[in-house]
Structure formats: C-alpha cells, structure tokens
C-alpha cells in the first residue's frame, strides 16, 4: 500500500513541474459543443485559424488558452455533422456554446467513430442512464445483462459472470478503465472484480475484437470506464444509497470531485462504496451462508493542457462472499440426492455472518496514461497499468481452522500500451507481464501452478470512407510465453502404493496472427448495415493446461492437458440498424467457427478414487465448434409518453467434430416492457415501467455430460417506478423503487451452477436514491 502512496505523490509533483504559465496573449476561450438535440459531442475537432487543433472532451467541453485580442476563426469538424467555421471578435475571456447540425446520411457514424473503444463495423451496446440507475446496487454481470445478447453464468446470486453470445471467462475481455482486467477469470466461480459504482459507462462490443484488444476477445469485449472529471465546477459529487428487502441490506457510494485551483487544468476525484447483504431468499426458503460484503474505493487525477491529457487512476475492489453451504458436495451420490430432493435438505434462517465456504478477493488497479495531440489530427497515447489480484478461497476444513484458505493466489499484472492514431488509422504496441504465485501454507496442492507469462502484440487498423460505404481492415501479431512450476501428484507411478509429488516445470510459446475486416453501409437515412469478419484467438489458460484437483461445488475432478494448442475463432457478425422518429431497432446475426475449442469433457470410463469417495474425471480436450445466433432489440414510441421496448436473443453451439451440444449455453430469452414517461422531457428520470422476462428451457444438451436435465423455462415480471427531482441548478435527486420477480416465482436457471441444489432469488423490493450535486 505504501508503494501506491509514493506513486501518487511522485506523479502529483510531476504535474506541478509542468504547469508553468507562458507569456504573451492571455485570454481564454472555453465552451461546449452540442448536437442539435442538445447532447454534448465528444471528439469534435476544433481548429483555430492559427494554432494547434484541440478536441472536445466527453462533456463536449473545450478550452483554448493564450488567445490574443481580436478576431478569431474556429472550425468545428465532426463526422456525421456539417462542418462549420465561426468567427468571433475576442476582447476578454469568452464562453461559447456551439451547436452542430446533423449530416443525415452519416449521422450513425458519430456513435461509432467518436467512440475510441469501438469499431466502425460492430455495434456498440451501452447501458443507458436509466438502466444504470435501475441497476445500482447490483453486481457487475447483473448490470450488464440488461444488454441484449448478454446473459450470466452464476454460482448463486453474488458470484456472477457475464456471458456474451454464449461465451464467458477467458473468451471475453473486460477493459476496465482502459486496462485489460486480469484476475483469475478462468474459473466459472470467479466473478469479475469490478464495482459498478466506480464506473459510469458500460459498453459491450460483440464482435471478435482480437485485433484491437488482443488475445481472449473471442466472444466480445466489455468496456467499463468512468466519466471524465467535471471541470466546470470547483466541487461536485454524487451520493448513492440503495436498499433491498431480499438480503436485508444495501449499498452506498459517495463521489467527490473538483479542480485544484493552484494547478490550472488539474482535476481530482475520490470515491468509495460499500455493500452488505445477508442470506438471500428464494420464493420459499433462505439459502444459508449467502451473504456478501464489499468495500471499494478509487481516486483519480486528470491533468489537461491544450495538447496533453494525463491521467492517474487507482482503484481497490474488496469483497467477501459466502457460498451456499448446501452446494458444497462431496460425491456424485451427494449431488444426485440433492437433485432428487429439488431443494436444500436443511432449513436456514436469515443471517449476515459469512462462514466457510467463502471467497475473499481483493483487486488493486493503478493506471497512468498520457495522450498527446499532434498536428494534423494525429495523437499519441501511452498507458501503463498495474494490477494485483489476491484471491483466497475458504472451505470447511478437516484438520486446520476454516480461517486458513484452501486456495491463496496472487496474480500481478503489468501492462504497457502505446498507440498512434489519426482520423483513419491506429497503430499500436501492447505488452503484458504476469506473475502468479500460490501462497504456501494452505495445506492443499494448488489447482494451478506458479507461473510467469509475457505477451506482446502489434496491431494496425485503417478505415476507408467512400461515399455511403465505410470500411475498416486490421491486422495483429501476438506472442506469448508461459513458464510454470508447481507440484503435482505422480498418479501414473505409485511408490509402494502411495502417491508421490514431483515438481512439474514447463514452458510454452504461442504465436498468432489475427485480422479483421468490416464495413458500414448506409442503405438509407434510416437503415444502416454493418458487417464484420474478425479472427481472434486465445492461448489455453493455465488451468486448462495444468489443473489437477477436485472442484467442490461441481463434484468433479479436473485434469489439464499440457499439450493443448491455441484456440482460434473467426466470427462473422452482421448488424442491421433502423432508426426513425419512433422506432429504433437492431438485428445482429452471427456465426463463429472455433478451431480447437477447449472444454472439460467427462470421461465415462474413468473416475478418480480418493479416500473421500469417487469422483467423475473431467479432462480438458479441444475440438472444433460452431456458434451461431441472433440478437434483436427494438424500441417503439407508441405516443409522446409511452414506449414499448423489446429484446430477444438466441444462441446455438455444437461440437462439430463429435456432433454434440456444448454445455452451459444460454437458453433462448426474451424481455419486453412498457414504459410511461409521466413527467416533462427535462425529467427523463421520471417514469414507470412494467417488464416481463421469459427464458425457455435449454433443450440442446448432452445428458451424459450433466447430472440433471436443464430446468424448466420461466417467466418473471418486474416493475420500476422512478422519479427525478431537480432541486436547483446542478442538483438533482433520483429515486427509484422497483420490485424484481414481482410474483415471487420459484424458478431455476440453467446457467446457474447452483441449480442442482437450490432455486433462484425470489421477490426483491428495492429502493435507490441518487443525489447529484
């Protein structure tokens, strides 16, 4: 922790050294650029008659310093909008408000090309302001699941992972504030270590984005980022408070931000959040030991000059989660008994206390980024990221105290990215170094060994704009080196009938070339077509290569294969976008072929006999697979105040070599609802919404690879009432009251790994306050 403080201090001083004023013209012009419908425009290129180009920030704000008295001509350019040159006579410090008019044919490009994290030919889905408000207090994956095509893989209500078009874990990449999130994401019971309160923007890009983001982005990318600091006011902030009946707890979050008056252009932000929930309840019963508590905090410094943006960011995520005790299984016999019972054998009371089995996870992320705007619209970016992920998993122990973790892993990741870009091209270099250590003294052989991993990537993307057609091509080269060391049992060489351990050392090298090509074509002013063909890859994860151990919770014994090869996928994603005055719709159709898809396959002829019982043996294998599916989303304004919203998704996945279904693929689902905006347009946060979620039974599965058939489909109803109060300028209060699972339906979900033992959460009444000042 001391090292972090030193880092903050040194960079703070560093900022100070660079902020000396200059002599000469001293006037300042600042302003905002808006679209014709009043939304701030980020990325507008503003070119003074004489001087350097500047670009508007996320709030549409810009600032020009050292302006001389007299006439000043400013050109405003932004794709999708008509360029304009405005001339001002400047006598003193001036504030401008500029509105750009739409260019109807290319208006859709704004959304895509103004977004640095996105891709021209792949649709970017974002959580709306209202969706973010509604999801406050939920975990990261639950928040994301409001986006069509995103579902969840869960172990109860709190250990939840996002699934994009049927892929999860190492097959999707999470970009947390510009840094690849690196935890122990290989585990199905390892949720992303991200606090939704600390982020303001949630975006999902479903294409195979291997070129832009590197390995692992096979299924898609989740981009999570905070807003820029509000530099318009000396001090501002936000307080969130949420409460829920199911779990009898809630969460709180506070944020403060402002300017450092002594350093022009320097802004700061601090924030913290906490959460505490006890045992949650299904429709009929409590689940024991399912509480959660979190404490997270973050700090950010931003320094902006005419040509440079610097940012220093640090966040800590800390959680402790209980794992339902009834899901701790020993043998196949145990799991089958619980499936036959359909619900837990025991009755549990409500409690906040968390006992074994449980998880404690801490994730620290520090980032330093620098962006310099060069001439002719070019810019250079550099970014360093440091992450430390500390995961401890506790279980009911036989010999030692339950307070001694069964698994204790520390993963440290350094990453360094450089890129150069202009309006049409991006060239980048990315490097990453990882060190994973198992803390000794757990009294159990670690599931994964200690390892070092070094990776390097080089990529380039170029865009073409020819009339109504926009295209992009990209190419990338990746290199990865992995070096492991860990003790393993010599199962094939018994010494006098006893197992002996040996030190396994190994190293692997992976190379890969990936590429992408995509287009955006304006079929009309209402309809756009995007098509993207992307090749992405991932190296087999350490657990797939070297695991050798028992997984409680699934009662399986998993064995890795150190000869696995890289998994490669080519995904073709086609998107039709319709936007008219009343209807907004998108249809995405995709197909993805995966060469060497890696998965744990049960071996019916082999079991692992231990003194605790007999376990089915799952060994990692790879075969070719094919995924395909579609996501549809529409929003139709029935009148000025009523809106109907619908989203639906389906995915199919098969092992093409064995002609068999792949496990844990989401079932078909549909969500729709009616929204009534009962207040004026200024109060967009005042509405009522009734929605219905329907999920079908998953009928495409292999009976021999699962303990139980997928559960029945289900229907859930939710109601949300939101009211926005604007008390005075810059201050607003939003109150959201909602009921999830209104009818207290008892149901199980195929994508919940606890479905063998228990039902999903029952009715949950929420109240959420968000005060902005």
């Amino acid at each position: 922790m001391r090292k972090w403080r030193i880092l903050f201090l040194s960079v703070f001083l560093f900022y100070g050294m660079t902020s000396k004023g200059q002599q000469g013209c001293t006037l300042q012009i600042k302003g905002h650029v808006y679209s014709s419908d009043g939304n701030p425009l980020q990325g507008v290129i503003i070119t003074p008659q004489a001087g350097e180009q500047i670009v508007s920030d996320r709030r549409g704000a810009f600032r020009i310093s050292q302006v001389c008295t007299g006439d000043l001509a400013l050109e405003f350019r932004y794709i999708g909008y008509t360029s304009v040159t405005l001339t001002y006579r400047v006598f003193g410090d001036t504030t401008l408000r500029v509105t750009l008019q739409d260019d109807p044919i290319h208006i859709k490009d704004v959304e895509i090309m103004g977004e640095k994290s996105g891709s021209l030919s792949v649709n970017t889905h974002r959580l709306s302001v209202q969706q973010k408000q509604e999801s406050k207090g939920e975990n990261f994956a639950q928040s994301l699941s409001r986006i069509v095509g995103v579902s969840t893989l869960s172990n109860g209500a709190h250990i939840v992972k996002p699934v994009i078009n049927g892929m999860h874990s190492n097959r999707i990449l999470i970009l947390n504030n510009g840094i690849r999130q690196e935890g122990q994401q290989w585990g199905a019971e390892h949720a992303p270590e991200i606090d939704p309160f600390l982020a303001d923007r949630f975006q999902v890009i479903k294409g195979a984005q291997g070129v832009r983001y590197g390995a692992d982005a096979l299924g898609g990318v989740v981009v999570v980022s905070p807003e820029d600091i509000n530099t318009e006011r000396a001090l501002s902030g936000r307080v969130d408070l949420t409460g829920q009946t199911n779990g009898r707890g809630g969460a709180t979050h506070g944020r403060l931000e402002g300017l450092v008056s002594a350093f022009s252009g320097l802004a700061w932000r601090v924030e913290a959040s906490g959460k505490k929930l006890g045992n949650y309840k299904t429709a009929d019963y409590y689940l024991g030991n399912t509480g959660v508590q979190e404490f997270n905090y973050a700090g950010m410094l931003q320094y902006k000059r005419e040509r440079d943006d610097l940012e220093l960011y640090y966040s800590h995520f800390g959680t402790e989660m209980g794992i339902f005790q009834g899901a701790h299984v020993s043998t196949i016999e145990d799991i089958q008994a619980r499936i036959a019972n359909g619900r837990p054998f025991e009755s549990y009371d409500f409690q906040y206390g968390i006992n074994a089995p449980s998880q404690r996870v801490g994730h620290d992320l520090a980032k330093f980024s620098w962006k310099r705007r060069l001439t002719k619209g070019r810019s250079f970016s550099a970014q360093y990221g440091l992450q430390r992920n500390h995961r401890r998993e506790y279980d009911m122990r036989r010999v030692e105290s339950d307070d001694l973790p069964m698994a204790d892993m520390v993963l440290t990741t350094h990453s360094l990215d450089f890129s150069v870009q202009n309006d049409k091209s991006t060239l980048g270099v990315q490097g990453m170094m990882q060190v994973n250590n198992n803390t000794p003294g757990t009294g159990t052989t670690p599931i994964i060994p200690n390892y070092d991993s070094y990776s390097f990537g080089l990529f380039g993307i170029h865009q073409f704009h020819i009339g109504r057609l926009h295209a992009e091509v990209g190419a990338r080269y990746d290199y990865k080196y992995l070096d492991i060391a860990g003790y393993r049992y010599q199962r094939d060489n018994l010494q006098e009938g006893d197992l002996t351990q040996y030190l396994l050392t190994d190293s692997r090298t992976f190379h890969n070339v990936s590429g992408s090509i995509g287009i955006l074509y304006h079929l009309s002013d209402k309809v756009n077509w995007k098509s993207n063909l992307g090749l992405a890859w991932r190296a087999p994860s350490v657990n797939e290569l070297y695991s050798d151990g028992l997984h409680h919770g699934s009662a399986t014994y998993e064995v890795g294969d150190k000869d696995l090869k890289s998994e490669k996928g080519i995904k073709w994603l086609n998107t039709l976008l319709w936007q008219s005055d009343r209807l907004r719709a998108s249809l995405e159709v995709y197909g993805q072929f995966l060469s060497g898809y890696i998965y744990a396959q049960p071996d019916p002829d082999s079991v692992r006999q231990t003194i605790r019982g007999t376990f089915p043996l799952f060994s990692y294998q790879q075969h070719d697979a094919f995924f395909y599916g579609a996501d549809f989303m529409a929003s139709y304004d029935l009148s000025e105040v009523f809106r109907y919203e619908l989203s639906a998704s389906m995915v199919r996945a098969k092992n093409t070599e064995l002609d068999s279904y792949l496990p844990y693929i989401p079932a078909d689902r549909l969500s729709h609802g009616l929204r009534w905006q009962y207040a004026t347009e200024q109060q967009v946060g005042s509405y009522l919404k009734l929605s219905h979620r329907a999920v079908r039974r998953q009928t495409r599965y292999q009976p021999e690879t699962d303990y139980a058939a997928p559960p029945a489909g289900y229907h859930l109803f939710d109601v949300i009432a939101s009211k926005q109060f604007i008390t005075r300028q810059h201050r607003s209060l939003i109150v959201v009251a909602s009921v999830n699972n209104l009818l207290n339906t008892s149901y199980k979900d195929y994508m919940d790994r606890f479905r063998y033992f228990a039902h999903q959460m029952g009715r949950n009444i929420n109240i959420k306050f968000s005060f902005q000042f």
Binding site: G288, V435, G441, A485, Y487, L503, I611
Partner: protein
C-alpha cells in the same frame, strides 16, 4: 516531453518493486486428506443389565483388522471378512493424517461436525451403537468407536463406513438410529472417509 518520459520512467522504477518472476513453489502436504485408515473389529460380550447393554472385552478374542492405504484406499484385493451371527464387535477406527500421525480423535473433538454411517447391510442383519466419549467425558455419536451386533445371517455384501463431515447445524437433526440411514446424503456435508469392504455374516462359525 522530457519531463513526461522522466515521469513515466520514475513510475516504472517505483513499480518494479513488485515481483517480476514467480516464486519457487513449495510442495504442500495435503492436510485435508486422511492418509490412511484401519477398521478394527474386536469381539466383545454384550451384557444386558436392566435393559442397559454394556459391552465387555473377551479375553483372547481375535481382532479383525481391515487396512485401507495406498493411492486407491481400497482393502486388500479379494479379501472378505466374516462376522458371527449373535456376536458383538467393538468397531474402532484408526486413521492417520498426512504425516502418518493418528487423527481419529479430531473426529471426536469436533463431534458437532462428524458422524459415521454404516451402510449396505441387508435390513435387520446388523445393529450398531455409537460409543464415543469426548474430552469432557460426555457420550457423543461420532462412530470412531461403536458396537456392532450381528443379528442375522447374510451372504457376502459390500459394507460401507462413511465418516461424514457435516455442514454447520446439520448434526442437530441426526439421531443415533440414523447409523444405517441409506439416505445419509440428506445430511449435507462432505465425506472425510468412505471405506468399502466385503463382509459375510456367518452362523456357528460356518463360513467359507
């Protein structure tokens, strides 16, 4: 520009204090696994005193020891054991931990989390009574020590001795009569031991 590069370089120097290569792994001895187990069947004499059955040692009685060890933790191949109808046996578990040290007392000292089940016998052929005593001298139902009485003849069958590591609160719902409850899995928890061996309940010393 130079200042920016210098700042970045300074940060890198500070951060290099984080480890840049993996530690040498240390072999863990799996403490959660029982290293070995032995079930000892000692013939005893059951004495009924006013409805209270006490068991006394029989001088010169021959013990039956069934040893489970090695990687497979199975009894010797092809062995099966004879118990006499009408006889009672003290069944005592000897277990060793990862270091070969006796560990069976850990089950008794955590009596609220442990209970053994004896499964697989044809209905009515066996009776069993828990006979564990904790450090305070209280009788507890664990099954490290117990008395097994053979009631009826049965051909060879596989008998299971399962030492259950129970979830918190589960033990309160288990009675002594559940010693042979085939639905023992409803008493949720984990198996610390699952020992299987073949046994033959014989009459008048008539075995094969």
């Amino acid at each position: 520009m130079k200042k920016f590069i210098l700042g970045l370089f300074t940060c890198s120097i500070i951060l290099t204090n984080f480890s840049c290569s993996k530690d040498d792994p240390i072999a863990e001895v799996d403490q959660e696994e029982v290293g070995g187990a032995t079930l000892v069947f000692t013939p005893v004499q059951a004495i009924d005193q006013d409805g209270q059955v006490n068991y006394e040692d029989v001088e010169g009685a021959e013990e039956i020891k069934i040893v489970f060890d090695g990687a497979t933790l199975l009894p010797p191949v092809g062995e099966h054991y004879h118990l006499e109808v009408g006889e009672s046996y003290r069944v005592h578990l000897l277990a060793t931990d990862f270091a070969g040290r006796p560990t069976e007392q850990t089950f008794v000292s955590r009596a609220d989390q442990h209970q053994a089940f004896i499964l697989g016998a044809p209905t009515g052929t066996l009776d069993y009574k828990y006979a564990d005593v904790d450090a305070n001298g209280n009788t507890v139902n664990v099954g490290v020590t117990g008395y097994l009485t053979v009631l009826e003849h049965a051909d060879t069958f596989a008998l299971r001795y399962v030492m259950r590591h129970l979830n918190p609160g589960v033990k309160e719902g288990i009675r002594a009569q559940d010693w042979n409850n085939e639905d023992y899995t409803k008493f949720t928890g984990d198996n610390d031991l699952d020992l299987k061996f073949e046994i033959h309940l014989t009459e008048d010393g008539h075995g094969h």
